[in-house]
């Protein structure tokens, strides 16, 4: 067994991402949260940094790295702004299916701009009826006069109002057994009959925009079909289970590191009874718990990302990482607030934001209950007593 260690190149990438995050993200993170807005200028700069298309090959404008490097970028950005981390990770959710199943023409048309920061992407799957009932999608795509006509409403869609390119799944028919056939489409901003709808006022992750996207007789030609007709279920599920949830885990690793660093800073600076509270055992217990959460979440997250890069099945491992990291970030943000006493609830400190961001991370990509179902199914399949 190899000792778990990042490569020299990955360490350099982390250093570069951290320098960017400390310079461009940290000073403005609280303001984006307060104003509930996604900083498109910084998002664009992330493209120049190579974060937006991190796993896209060089021929399509990316650096050609993998999902471990993706997690590094997301962790470093989310250390200071989990909201921007959310916008970035969702952008990847739109990029991934185009890379995975797009025609050569589609890849050449969309990927370079999505990598450079010129354009942003999103993925629209969830509907008002619930995100976890994946096959129960009501939005439709009908064949009419040689075109596809889309109708329906998608909700809780991150990047809904900023995406230039949205990958959406809709029901395009039923198979012999009466089961829905889902197909994926690439829909560009400004397509007739396609528009963002209601914008949600979220508890956390507020440097990302989340809302509805609406299809009202949106007419697309065949070039908009992504992958084969009826291939949308596989494409969407793979994106959510291997890329979306992995992104949520990485966001929460960033939040956990934020908790750890803020807790240490406060514990060293706060003087009580003539000494820093870091010397008090009760405080040390909290720090030890946060460290444990951070380390465990980090190992699960990067292990799952490593499996993805190795081309191995990873849905169960990603669900495990997502379940643990999101719950741990809530727990540790609360511990950090406890450690800080009254200061913990003052908004000049970022810990309250960390807690809101952590809570908001739980339903994205499937709640903790759904993660446990995925994990249980994987476990029952993998282990035989």
């Amino acid at each position: 067994m190899h000792f778990f260690e990042f490569t020299e190149e990955q360490n350099m990438l982390r250093k570069a991402a951290r320098e960017f995050a400390e310079t461009e993200v940290a000073p403005r993170a609280a303001e984006w949260d307060e104003r509930d807005e996604c900083p498109l200028d910084v998002f664009k700069k992330l493209g120049e940094l190579g974060a937006n298309g991190v796993f896209v090959p060089e021929k399509y404008g990316g650096p050609g790295l993998g999902h471990v490097e993706r997690a590094i970028f997301i962790e470093e950005i989310s250390r200071h702004s989990a909201g921007l981390g959310m916008a970035l990770m969702t952008h990847h959710l739109g990029v991934y299916p185009i890379l995975r199943s797009g025609s050569e023409e589609q890849k050449e048309k969309y990927l370079p701009d999505l990598c450079s920061g010129e354009r942003f992407a999103g993925l629209a799957i969830t509907e008002p009826g619930g995100g976890s009932d994946f096959m129960g999608q009501k939005a439709t795509g009908e064949r009419r006069d040689g075109k596809w006509v889309l109708n329906g409403r998608k909700c809780f869609i991150t990047n809904s109002h900023i995406a230039d390119v949205t990958v959406a799944t809709v029901k395009t028919g039923v198979d012999d057994k009466g089961r829905s056939k889902l197909s994926a489409f690439i829909v560009e901003k400004g397509a007739p009959g396609f528009a963002p709808g209601r914008k949600e006022h979220k508890l956390g992750l507020r440097a990302s925009v989340t809302g509805d996207v609406v299809f009202n007789e949106t007419t697309l030609d065949d070039k908009a079909l992504l992958g084969p007709e009826g291939g949308g279920a596989r494409l969407g599920m793979e994106g959510v289970s291997e890329v979306g949830r992995a992104g949520m885990s990485a966001i929460c690793v960033g939040i956990l590191r934020g908790c750890l660093e803020e807790a240490i800073k406060f514990a060293n600076e706060r003087i009580l009874y003539g000494k820093p509270i870091a010397k008090i055992q009760a405080i040390q217990f909290e720090i030890a718990k946060i460290r444990t959460d951070y380390e465990a979440a980090r190992l699960l997250t990067y292990y799952a990302a490593g499996l993805k890069d190795a081309g191995k099945p990873c849905a169960t491992e990603v669900a495990t990482a997502k379940y643990f990291a999101t719950e741990a970030s809530v727990r540790s943000a609360k511990s950090t607030m406890d450690l800080m006493g009254g200061y913990g609830i003052i908004n000049e400190y970022p810990v309250g934001r960390f807690l809101r961001d952590a809570l908001t991370s739980i339903p994205s990509g499937g709640t903790s209950h759904i993660m446990q179902v995925v994990m249980a199914n994987g476990t029952l399949n993998d282990f035989h007593a």
Partner: protein, 274 residues
């Protein structure tokens, strides 16, 4: 115009770990075991200036450092930022160098690059000073070794038809200069905003050469100018100042206490004439 530019870079202790940096009272050297290095901040401005001069033409930018093996990490960053090649001067023979011996070794390394490439450098950049030693001497010394014009604390650099308009910072103002290459420049942090290292830069750096040269690779160098032997700077007494504070309680009437305080202050020499 595509220029050929060299940039001298230095690994310095990460300021976040300054609490772990100490002084060896016997050797009179800095102890920094376990302290990670960062790219000397002003050297990043120097590299940025170099990359802007190289772009968009087909120029050439080389980064060079004289340091222990850990310096390779900083040079890899320079490659990822955009330098074409990097050179590490690393040998026990270079150890213990003061600024003069450092600048001599750098000069020898740069001369060797010029000789191998068959073309001289148009510019040699340094950061104005390092974040650790902060002597701010190396760029001027390099200018002397090369016999090139040199300017220090450059915060503005513009090209106008092959002539460069430069501004250097002074304590109470600035000076304006006109110069033509070749020249050696020590640049101030205000000169530019260094670019961030991108993922593409990291990937491209895989294929760029990072060459390590030892003493034997610089056959023309004079040992009398290298390392400790070539360093006229001798550290005097180095000590950690005793900054303990002592409380003293004065008693008596308020007038007596005030008189007592004044007497203590006068005796300390801190308030002559009071």
């Amino acid at each position: 115009m595509a220029y050929r530019v060299a940039v001298c870079v230095k690994p310095v202790p990460d300021p976040n770990y300054y609490g772990h940096v100490g002084i060896d009272p016997v050797k009179k050297t800095i102890t920094r075991a376990g302290v990670p290095n960062i790219f000397n901040p002003a050297d990043k401005n120097a590299l940025e200036a170099a990359l802007r001069l190289r772009e968009p033409g087909s120029g050439y930018a080389a980064a060079i450092s004289m340091s222990p093996p850990e310096g390779a990490e900083i040079l890899r960053e320079a490659l990822a930022m955009g330098a074409d090649e990097a050179y590490l001067l690393c040998d026990r023979a270079f150890a213990g160098a003061d600024t003069l011996a450092t600048s001599y070794a750098l000069c020898q390394g740069l001369r060797k690059i010029e000789s191998e490439k068959g073309l001289p450098f148009d510019f040699i950049f340094c950061g104005a000073e390092s974040a650790d030693g902060a002597t701010a001497q190396v760029s001027s010394q390099l200018g002397e070794w090369f016999g090139y014009p040199q300017l220090w604390n450059v915060f503005s650099l513009e090209e106008r038809g092959g002539v460069f308009m430069l501004k250097t910072k002074l304590e109470n103002g600035c000076m304006e200069w006109e110069a033509k290459p070749p020249m050696v420049l020590g640049v101030a942090r205000e000169l530019n905003k260094p670019r961030f290292i991108s993922a593409m830069g990291v990937v491209k750096s895989r294929k760029k050469p990072l060459v390590t040269w030892g003493r034997s690779d610089l056959p023309g160098a004079d040992d009398g100018y290298l390392g400790l032997a070539g360093s006229p700077t001798k550290a005097g007494d180095i000590f950690t100042p005793d900054i303990r504070r002592e409380g003293r309680r004065l008693s008596g009437s308020p007038d007596e206490i005030v008189a007592g305080m004044l007497s203590v202050i006068r005796a300390s020499g801190a308030a002559a004439g009071v």
